[in-house]
């Protein structure tokens, strides 16, 4: 299986003042990630059928963890499968 990839990582702007709230946007992908869609059909003795569909993501991202030097505490404020947004006060 392939490893996930951080495709880009950007701050909200190029220069922060101490104490100012920073934004970090991390875009990431995983080539192994797949969406499995299953359609189930039920057939009764008369031949009538009914069906339902369900989906599941295979190998979704388990965690996204930014670590900074100097240390700051990043707080996750928004997340999708392929993007995580964090904020932290500039040290």
């Amino acid at each position: 299986m392939a490893a996930p990839v951080v495709t880009s990582q950007t701050y909200g702007k190029a220069n922060y003042q101490p104490g100012e709230l920073m934004t970090l946007t991390v875009n990431h992908t995983d080539v192994d990630r797949k969406t499995l869609s299953t359609v189930t059909t039920v057939t009764d003795s008369t031949g009538a059928t009914g069906s339902g569909t369900a989906t599941v993501v295979i190998d979704g991202a388990a965690s996204v963890v930014p670590v900074s030097t100097p240390a700051v505490t990043w707080t996750l404020v928004a997340a999708t499968l392929n993007q995580s947004v964090f904020t932290a006060p500039a040290p």
């Binding site: 951080v6 220069n15 922060y16 970090l24 192994d32 190998d59």
Partner: protein, 379 residues
């Protein structure tokens, strides 16, 4: 620099990572000038004609030019620990000094410290900020030699001049025998032909720097970013006098009848609005015209955006020379904000220049406020 490495771990325990850096405070050399490759920390005089300097950080050093055709590309000028300007082109032999993508910002803010002083310099894509006068245009040698009407040789394209800063001194005067802040974006002492196009000349004071430091009603001293993001009608509260590490800010006692006590680093204009100049008194100008080295005239400003000032453009020290026929200059397609400390004194030539200045306020090339209305001009 803050460096952040982000690790992504999938459900199978596989990891990937990426790293990015950001500057927290200070001078963002990489972003602004493409990266510094050398640093000069001792004062220098450049006297070799035609020399070029690339990606140099004059950090703790002031620079003087005594020759012609110097070119500075992607340099930072921070000056030394004295009241001398960061860059001096006062020598009569200084000609055609060109700055491309340079940043002027004092490392050692001190009373009356200017960023660039002299003549015959040109600014392309530059940022000049936090000086007492950001540009101080003068050429005493040429004036002495040939009298009024000497060519300044000064101009710029796509350049920002902003954030005026005049530190008060421990003697609690803003300057020798004065209680009034006289910081200017550009102060010209004489000469003709100063020429700026597609630029910003901003006569508003620097915040959280020098003597103007604001705090919240609960005593939180704003960061620079917070101060510049204040609501237009935010309460404007100075940090307590003498509370800063440098002993400032300083309240000025009364000096004489025309220089009353200044208990705060600014004088309210009664509007209570930042956009209407509440912080922009006393006596800032985006452009101040004097005539101690002959008349100042022949200005050319095209598509310049002007901000602030107690008077934004003040020619009070530069009267029209009666009978001379000379022109103060031309302004075309300029735009102005309304944050003058003295409301209505935006372009104020104060010197009988009527008929001797081309500053249209309607039609082609009209000079307007940002809201589209004609700028107020007093000739």
């Amino acid at each position: 620099m803050l460096s952040t490495t982000t690790t992504v771990t999938d459900a199978g325990g596989h990891t990937g990572a990426g790293t990015a850096t950001v500057l927290v405070a200070g001078v963002d050399t990489a972003a602004l000038v493409g990266g510094i490759t050398s640093t000069v920390s001792a004062n220098v005089t450049h006297s070799t004609a035609g020399a070029t300097f690339n990606h140099v950080d004059f950090n703790g050093a002031r620079v003087s030019a005594t020759t012609t055709d110097l070119t500075y590309n992607d340099c930072i000028f921070r000056g030394d620990n004295s009241i001398n300007a960061l860059f001096s082109a006062t020598n009569i032999n200084a000609k055609r000094i060109v700055f491309n993508r340079c940043w002027f910002i004092p490392k050692y803010p001190l009373p009356d410290k200017n960023n660039i002083v002299g003549h015959d310099f040109w600014l392309n894509d530059c940022l000049v900020e936090k000086g007492s006068d950001n540009l101080s245009i003068q050429n005493s040698g040429q004036y002495a030699a040939t009298g009024p009407g000497w060519a300044t040789g000064v101009g710029g394209r796509r350049t920002v001049i902003r954030r005026l800063a005049r530190w008060t001194s421990a003697t609690m005067n803003l300057g020798p025998g004065d209680t009034v802040n006289h910081a200017d974006g550009i102060q010209q002492f004489g000469g003709v032909g100063t020429d700026f196009e597609d630029s910003i000349i901003d006569g508003r004071p620097a915040l959280q720097f020098a003597h103007l430091v604001l705090q919240s009603p609960t005593g939180h001293v704003y960061t620079e970013a917070e101060a510049y993001a204040l609501a237009d009608d935010a309460p404007l509260i100075s940090v307590p006098m003498g509370s800063l590490a440098n002993g400032g800010p300083f309240a000025s006692p009364a000096f004489d009848a025309s220089h009353p006590a200044r208990p705060l680093p600014w004088v309210s204009n009664g509007t209570g609005l930042i956009s209407r100049g509440e912080l922009n008194s006393t006596d800032y100008s985006a452009l101040m015209c004097n005539s101690s080295q002959g008349y100042s005239a022949g200005f050319r400003f095209v598509n310049v955006h002007w901000y602030g000032g107690e008077f934004c453009i003040n020619s009070g020290g530069n009267q029209y020379p009666a009978g001379s026929g000379i022109s103060w200059g031309t302004m075309t397609d300029c735009r102005f904000d309304r944050s003058q400390g003295q409301q209505g004194h935006t372009v104020d030539l104060q010197g009988n220049w009527s008929g001797h200045a081309t500053i249209p306020t309607n039609g082609a090339g009209a000079n307007l406020y940002f809201d589209g209305t004609p700028v107020t001009v007093r000739f």
